[in-house]
Every structure is written in structure tokens, then in C-alpha cells.
């Protein structure tokens, strides 16, 4: 009896094994290969083509329909890919369609068709971001931050003609130049110390994605772009400033803003340095 049970159990197991072998290897069910199954490199290539096609035809619904096939949140996926391309040193002319499409997907009406803007003066990031976040940390060297003193007066940024002439090559822009419309400092412990937040709007107050922002300090410079954090805002960009440095910032081809430095926070605050929020509008 015991022998017979074992005999039947083996037959059952052999049947199960044969069934699995047949159904997994010999005759797996027919599968339709859809874009959501693509390997990541091909998926990114597809995203680039969709964005380039959108730049050509301006058909947002068609672009949206194509992106839906990937089963991801399109705006975030495009922005993430734009960040990776930026970090890889790809030219901004290739990144701009992605940024623009990501921005247009997040707004009720599409922006104006992309106009080929000469961007020869825009330098790509000299090094990749330190983290997947598009926040670019600008730190000259590893050193401790000096504590702020009570005598330290906050540095108010001033509009100034830059002395670092060559760094501020005017960038031709469509429409007027970008003018600083609001300056604000915050000592918010929930924000990283030294965070510079930049908001860029067009003439109608609508956020503008893909605007290059040039940041220059003694010994270096960095270019970053609005629209890479669409979850915050299409016209938003940020960067971390070092408290020991003074920075100059230029949005698009606008007037440079000088003497930017993280504001010291009062002693009762839990942080030593606050953040700066700049808002620009195009005139």
C-alpha cells in the first residue's frame, strides 16, 4: 500500500513537472509586446522620439496617447529622463523637447510651439548631479560651515552688471528679458540649508519650462533649467548654495542678479542658513 501511494505521487509530480515545462518553455501563451515591456534604453529612445514628434506637430493628445502605452505617469517619466540626459551631458537642444512636453502635459493648454532658440552660449552641466534629484549642489570644497553671527547682516541681492563678463553671454530669448519680480528669504527647517529656489514665469504669469539659469561664483559656474521638477512647478528650478560664496545668477538672457548668498538664520532657529526664493517674470 505504501509502495503504491509513492508510485502515484511520483506520477503526479512527473505530470506537474511536464505541464510546467510545456507551458513555460515549449508553448508559453502568446504575448503582445507592448511599449511598457521595453527595456529601459529603448524606452528612453521612444520617449525622445515622442517628444521630438510633439515638437514637430504640436499634437499634445497624440503625444499623450503614445505615452499612455508605457503605463507610467508621463510627465514624471519625461522629467526624470531629462534629468538623466542632463546629468549625462547631453546637449540641451535634445533635452528641451522632453522638458517642454513634460510641462505641457501638466497644464490645461499647450504652450506655443517650440521655437529653435540658439543655445550655443548655454553650457551643459560640468558634472552629473550627486543624486537622482535635479538639485545641483555647488560646493567648492569640503569644509565646515562657519556659524552665523548676530552681526551678520543678510545680504540683499542687487541688480548689477556682472564683472565676470564672459560668463554672462547674452542668450537670445523669444520675447522680452526676465526681470526679478520677487525676492524672499526663509528660515524653514524643512528645506535644505542654502537652497536657492527660482520660479520663472512668462508675460502672462504662466510658468515657463526649459529656461536655462546660469549661476556663477568665484571659480566656477553651473547651468540648470526650469521644468525638471514638474511635481513642484513647470517654471521651477533649484540649486544648493554654499554660505561662503557669493553668487551671480542670470535667467535666460535677463539681467544678472548679484551678491546672492544663503541668508543666516536667527539663533533661535534650528538651522544656520536659510533659503532664497526668487521669482522672475518676462517683460
Amino acid at each position: 500500500m505504501k509502495y503504491r501511494s509513492l508510485d502515484l505521487l511520483l506520477a503526479l509530480l512527473l505530470g506537474v513537472g511536464s505541464g510546467l515545462l510545456y507551458a513555460w518553455w515549449i508553448a508559453p501563451p502568446q504575448v503582445t509586446f507592448t511599449p511598457d515591456l521595453l527595456r529601459s534604453s529603448d524606452k528612453e529612445a521612444y520617449y525622445e522620439v515622442i517628444a521630438a514628434a510633439y515638437a514637430a506637430n504640436g499634437d499634445l493628445e497624440r503625444a499623450r496617447a503614445r505615452l499612455t502605452l508605457f503605463g507610467e505617469e508621463p510627465s514624471a517619466a519625461l522629467a526624470a529622463q531629462a534629468q538623466r540626459m542632463l546629468a549625462a551631458g547631453r546637449p540641451f537642444s535634445q533635452i528641451q523637447p522632453l522638458v517642454r512636453l513634460a510641462a505641457d502635459l501638466g497644464r490645461p493648454t499647450p504652450s506655443s510651439p517650440i521655437v529653435a532658440t540658439p543655445l550655443s552660449a548655454v553650457t551643459p552641466l560640468s558634472r552629473p548631479p550627486l543624486s537622482p534629484s535635479p538639485t545641483v549642489e555647488v560646493v567648492p570644497s569640503e569644509q565646515d560651515l562657519p556659524p552665523p553671527t548676530a552681526e551678520t547682516a543678510p545680504v540683499i541681492p542687487t541688480l548689477s552688471i556682472p564683472t565676470l563678463g564672459s560668463a554672462f553671454t547674452p542668450i537670445p530669448t523669444v520675447g522680452g528679458v526676465f526681470i526679478l519680480s520677487n525676492y524672499e528669504t526663509r528660515c524653514d527647517p524643512n528645506l535644505p540649508q542654502g537652497l536657492l529656489q527660482v520660479w520663472v514665469n512668462d508675460e502672462r504669469g504662466q510658468p515657463l519650462a526649459g529656461v536655462p539659469i546660469l549661476l556663477v561664483w568665484d571659480g566656477g559656474q553651473e547651468t540648470f533649467y526650469t521644468g525638471l521638477k514638474p511635481e513642484i512647478g513647470n517654471g521651477y528650478a533649484d540649486v544648493l548654495l554654499h554660505p561662503d560664496l557669493l553668487y551671480r545668477l542670470q535667467v535666460g538672457g535677463g539681467e544678472p542678479i548679484g551678491n546672492l548668498s544663503p541668508p543666516p538664520c536667527p539663533p533661535e532657529s534650528s538651522i544656520r542658513y536659510g533659503s532664497i526664493i526668487l521669482t522672475f517674470g518676462r517683460k
Binding site: A11, L20, Y22, P29, F33, T34, L38, R39, Y46, A56
Partner: protein, 117 residues
Amino acid sequence: MSRHLLRLLFFLIGLAAGIFYAWKIAPVRYTDVPLAALRADYRTDYVMAVAEAYQNEQDLNLAISRLKLLNPTSPLTPVQEALLYAQTHAFEEREVAFLQSLIQALSTVGAEGGGTP
């Protein structure tokens, strides 16, 4: 029932259970699929997007590099296939014209052999 028949019965039960499990409960999951493996309509849409972008960019090298993801040896072939699909599925004339324009450009540089201009 003889012992052999009983064994066969248990084998068949196991076989059915194995097939049911592998097809219905835990089917093969495909990942990292290459562009070239997409279904014909998806491949056509990709080629159509390349053709639309080419109309604006006029960068044939870029178009070829994008098409080589579908056919590394002959970037012209997927465009010809897409044109055939478009003509048999009543695509808009404008879309067919985009594909024809891209085929013409690729033909002039001999891209059927994978060459670049």
C-alpha cells in the same frame, strides 16, 4: 483499475495542474523587450513618430540612429514596413507622406544597407 491506468491518471492530473498553473496563475512575464519585438502597430507608430520628428529636425543621421533600434542592419526596412501597414490601415495622407518622405531621404543615402550619410 489497473496500477498502470491509475499511474497514467495521476500523471494526467499533474500535467493539467502544471499547465493550468503555468498559463493562468503564473504565466511567463516578459521584461526588457527590444523595440524590434513590438507588435506591428506599435512599431509603425514608433516609425511614424520618427518620420514626424524628421520633418522638423531634418537630421537624417538622427533618424537613422533611431530606426536602427528596429533594424540595425537596414533602417530603411522598418519604414517600408510601416508604410505598407499605413497604406493597408487607412492612415491619413499626411502620415503616409511623412513616411514616403523619410523613405526617399533614406534611399538617397543608401540607408538600406545601414550606411550613414
